[in-house]
């Protein structure tokens, strides 16, 4: 009996189990179908599966799929592929065949967020818009390894023929742009100016990690520049200990960094002497005292908690030179211009993240600059200094759709000049406060309104200006951006030094920008209109084309003007391997009545057409980089006293063709670069304009300081190498 029961039980259990087994193994559901995108095209390689199981498959290139599952009851079918939103749908599985069609939506993440690009050409670490990275700067032929030289190849920037020191942007003169380093204005961004001889900037291209060049419509963080702002950020912590040693036709230098955990100390020293350079250059000016100089700098960088960073930099430099140059006051005559310059600059900045979404930034700088000049027989003494501080708080919402920047900056600067017995002096305290918001309600739209208020103690006047920028994404790779704003700037220092206190000068910018960027190809087209108002004007004096004139007459703000034009930029680093080229073209139509001008005309520093073609090719096999650049600028107006119309005649067009060849190699673990630059290879005899004798009978050409020149150098860099991994 027991036996029978057991037997029956066993049979029953076995049977039960068998049934169960067969139920699971033989009663299956088949799920098949097709996956399509929004356009109805098949989507291949999408993963199709039942949620929380390993039952699934991938679609074929035809978008079709089919798989079987033993699962039963309500299940969730998931379809997933990179670049698309995950799709889920419920299925109630009861051993049969299911046919499903799934339409995948392209995920928004695949589209890059819109960024405001009107006016600004930005180059930071990950966005390769129109990147001018250190290596770009030093390998751009014709830029002479100068940051400003490279910036001059960008659209909207006036080609400097070699006779003006500074940056001229969209019809603006050299006074209208400002150079910012780590949040504070660099008062002496260029070496002290010499009449008719363009000076290099003091900026070392290797010191910067980010460059944002704004040719207009810039942020409320900055003011006191009617045209443009060049905003530079210095590098963060170095990766490793390293040392650089170099020598070239204009001197020698050494620099290095020592990394100590999250802190680093960097140091640099240089000696310049351009004697070897002058030996092979075709110079139009005569150096009776060969330019020599030296500088030392030290820098401390510390990475603080929460990814904050503290930077402090101290630089001191000394330069002297003596040049025989055309006399700006008498055409045809020359005079001796000697200068000894000493410059000290201290900058500190601190970025601190209070939390993931809140950032505090503060910056402080101090500079002092002294020039001892011998102007022919007359001694001139110039001294200027600046103290500046900035504090700002930046906050964003958790979804990062909205952020707000509130800040303030205070700058105190003074200038003194003694020319013979004439003394000019002023000091100014500028205080500013600003608020700027950025809102991206949807992925394809961004708006950035801001307000800046500024008060000048010198003028006992203030102003409040609005600025705004917008951006719309118009496609996967394209966007349209617009910017507008009001900009104020006090009169140039030569007026202030003589005791004139004209009101702020004003400019209003409107710009519309189209940008297309895909796979290392960038196209930018920007149209703009600027109006100038309240420009400084001299009354009651005769016109002279002398920038260093002393008699300024009666000064008021009756000047005005406009600038309009179009800038075009194309860069392609993709089409040909190791080949990078960019073309920038700018057309500007500008007229102004300002300073000592007699009429509203195109100013004498403006070329209507500017074209730059830069090409770089890296020959892997030879480890050699060849860079060539061609610059064209249409003729600039010059003053002819015999002509009936003011500034109506134009100089011949400017052409320059330059080549730089660099050879890169590793010598005993030292990364070594040899470079040879030829500027103005064809020895084109450019004429920048003409000066006429007082009686108008004789004319003298204004020449660039150099025609053809050769520059040769070598740089060794030694990085602390890993101990052998083997």
């Amino acid at each position: 009996m027991t036996k029978r029961v057991t037997k029956t039980l066993f049979s029953f259990i076995s049977l039960l189990l068998l049934t169960l087994v067969s139920a699971t193994s033989f009663a299956q559901s088949t799920i098949k179908g097709e996956v399509k995108n929004q356009k109805g095209e098949p989507v291949g390689f999408a993963s199709v599966f039942i949620q929380n199981t390993v039952d699934g498959t991938t679609t074929g290139v035809d978008g079709k799929f089919s798989f079987t599952t033993n699962l039963k009851g309500p299940q969730t079918l998931v379809v997933n592929l990179i670049g698309f939103n995950k799709s889920t749908q419920s299925l109630n599985l009861t051993d049969s065949v299911y046919t499903v069609t799934v339409q995948l939506q392209e995920s928004a993440k695949h589209l890059e967020e819109v960024t405001i690009t009107a006016g600004t050409i930005e180059a930071n670490n990950d966005r390769s818009v129109a990147v001018l990275k250190p290596l770009d700067i030093v390998t751009t032929a014709g830029a002479q390894a100068d940051v400003i030289g490279a910036i001059q190849t960008l659209p909207g920037v006036q080609r400097n023929g070699g006779d003006q020191t500074g940056l001229m942007v969209r019809g603006g003169d050299v006074n209208e742009s400002s150079v910012i380093v780590d949040g504070t204005v660099t008062q002496n961004a260029f070496n002290s100016s010499v009449p008719g001889v363009a000076q290099r900037s003091r900026l070392n291209p290797f010191a910067f990690k980010g460059t944002a060049f704004s040719s207009g419509g810039y942020t409320v963080r900055y003011g006191q520049a009617l045209s443009a702002v060049l905003d530079l950020q210095t590098t963060d912590l170095p990766e490793k200990n390293n040392m650089n040693i170099g020598a070239h036709f204009a001197g020698a230098y050494i620099s290095g960094s020592k990394l100590m955990g999250k802190n680093a100390v960097e140091y640099a020293a240089n000696y310049t002497n351009i004697a070897p350079y002058l030996l092979v250059a075709d110079a139009n000016v005569d150096f009776y005292d060969v330019p020599q100089g030296g500088g030392i700098s030290t820098r401390f960088v510390s990475r603080t908690e929460n990814n904050g960073i503290f930077k402090m930099n101290l630089t001191h430099s000394f330069n002297k030179s003596g040049i025989t140059i055309p006399d700006p006051s008498t055409a045809g005559a020359t005079f001796d211009f000697g200068i000894r310059n000493e410059n000290t600059l201290l900058t500190t900045s601190y970025k601190y993240f209070i939390n993931e979404h809140t950032k505090l930034f503060s910056a402080f700088s101090f500079s002092n600059n002294a020039d001892k000049i011998s102007w022919g027989a007359a001694p001139v003494y110039r001294n200027d200094g600046r103290l500046q501080g900035r504090v700002e708080l930046w906050w964003e919402t958790k979804e990062r759709k909205f952020n707000l920047l509130v800040g303030s900056d205070v700058q105190r600067f003074d200038y003194t000049q003694r020319f013979d017995t004439l003394i000019g002096q002023f000091d100014e305290l500028l205080s500013a406060g600003y608020v700027e918001a950025e809102w991206k309600p949807i992925l394809w739209f961004a708006i950035k309104p801001g307000v800046r208020g500024e008060y000048s103690q010198l003028l006992a006047k203030g102003n409040i200006v609005p600025r705004a920028a917008f951006a719309f994404r118009t496609g996967e790779a394209s966007q349209v951006s617009a910017a507008t704003g009001v900009f104020y700037q006090t009169a140039p220092i030569n007026y202030l030094m003589q005791g004139y206190r004209p009101d702020f000068q004003q400019s209003i910018h409107y710009m519309l920008n189209y940008q297309w960027m895909k796979k290392d190809r960038t196209l930018r087209v920007e149209a703009y209109y600027k109006s100038y108002d309240q420009l400084v004007r001299e009354n009651g004096t005769a016109y002279t084309p002398n920038q260093f004139r002393f008699d300024l007459g009666m000064v008021d703000n009756s000047g005005s003007g406009y600038a309009q034009g179009i800038d075009f930029f194309w860069r392609d680093r993709k089409s040909i391997k190791n080949f990078d080229y960019w073309i920038s073209y700018s057309y500007v139509d500008t007229k102004r009545l300002y300073q000592n001008y007699l009429d509203k005309v195109t100013p004498d520093y403006v070329s209507d057409h500017n074209l730059n073609v830069i090409a770089k090719y890296f020959i892997m096999k030879w480890q050699t980089n060849i860079s060539a650049s061609y610059n064209y600028a249409s003729g600039r107006p010059f003053y002819n006293p015999n002509s009936t119309a003011f500034l109506s005649e134009k100089s011949p067009d400017f052409h320059n063709f330059s080549v730089t060849i660099s050879y890169l190699t590793t010598i005993r673990r030292m990364f070594t670069v040899f470079y040879l630059s030829l500027d103005n290879v064809t020895n084109q005899k450019n004429v920048l304009g003409y000066r006429y004798s007082a009686d108008g009978t004789q004319r003298f050409p204004i020449l660039p300081p150099m025609y053809r020149s050769v520059f040769l150098g070598v740089n060794f860099s030694l990085t602390e190498f890993n101990k052998d991994e083997l």
């Binding site: 066993f10 049979s11 599966f49 695949h110």
Partner: protein
């Protein structure tokens, strides 16, 4: 009695049958790894990657399941021609790495994987990213080596990285050769090939060695 035995046999059979229906994580991984091993380009990898995703999702608590998820995503990013998508693959690999970190797993394989993912991130835009991701790559290989200096993948990854570094920056085939040789030596030390101990890289290492020796 005979019936009992028959029933019992049937029972055993059916239990086995049930077991067979329920493969282990190892079985699942094996199946997917087999696809990777024979994959030629994107299609095979995509299929394998989809499988690994499912396995990783099912075995949330197993670092190895997450490991293979990340590994295939990193490899896919190298193959993907669309630059924007490359980053998305690396994002997914990073998400798996985060899960492994969440599980608290720390071993040489995890560090090798982190190095691989950093390298994949760098490779998306080498020119602009080497400064940031190069050190992360090196750092993780170093940590892996501290935990197990016999892991051949350390030397294999380093070798490939040196191989693709331009000659003038101290890289190139000649400089990479000793690393490939070292990797070969270490691969030879691996006695068994089981998915439970990631063993990828050996055939590729052989390929590179051939190429390096031919140069």
């Amino acid at each position: 009695m005979k019936t009992i035995i028959t029933s019992f046999a049937l029972l055993v059979l059916s239990v086995t049958a049930v077991r067979a229906q329920e493969p282990t994580m190892e079985d699942n991984l094996k199946e997917a790894v087999a696809i990777v091993d024979t994959a030629k380009g994107m299609p095979g990898l995509m299929t394998a990657s989809a499988k690994f995703d499912l396995i990783a999702n099912k075995y949330q608590g197993e670092w190895l399941a997450q490991y293979y998820g990340a590994y295939t995503k990193a490899i896919l990013s190298y193959f993907e021609p669309d630059v924007a998508k490359k980053d998305l693959y690396v994002d997914e690999a990073d998400a798996y790495l985060d899960k492994i970190t969440g599980l608290g797993t720390e071993n040489d394989h995890v560090y090798v994987l982190k190095a691989l993912v950093a390298n994949a991130r760098m490779a998306v835009d080498g020119e602009h990213r080497w400064q940031e991701y190069g050190p992360i790559f090196e750092e993780n290989l170093k940590k892996a080596k501290e935990l197990n200096e016999n892991n051949p993948q350390i030397y294999y990854l380093k070798a490939v990285s040196v191989f693709y570094t331009p000659k003038m920056f101290g890289g190139g085939a000649k400089k990479a050769k000793p690393y490939f040789e070292k990797a070969k030596e270490k691969y030879a030390l691996m006695t068994e090939r089981t998915v439970m101990v990631p063993y990828w890289g050996e055939p590729q290492n052989e390929e590179y060695l051939k190429q390096v020796n031919a140069d």
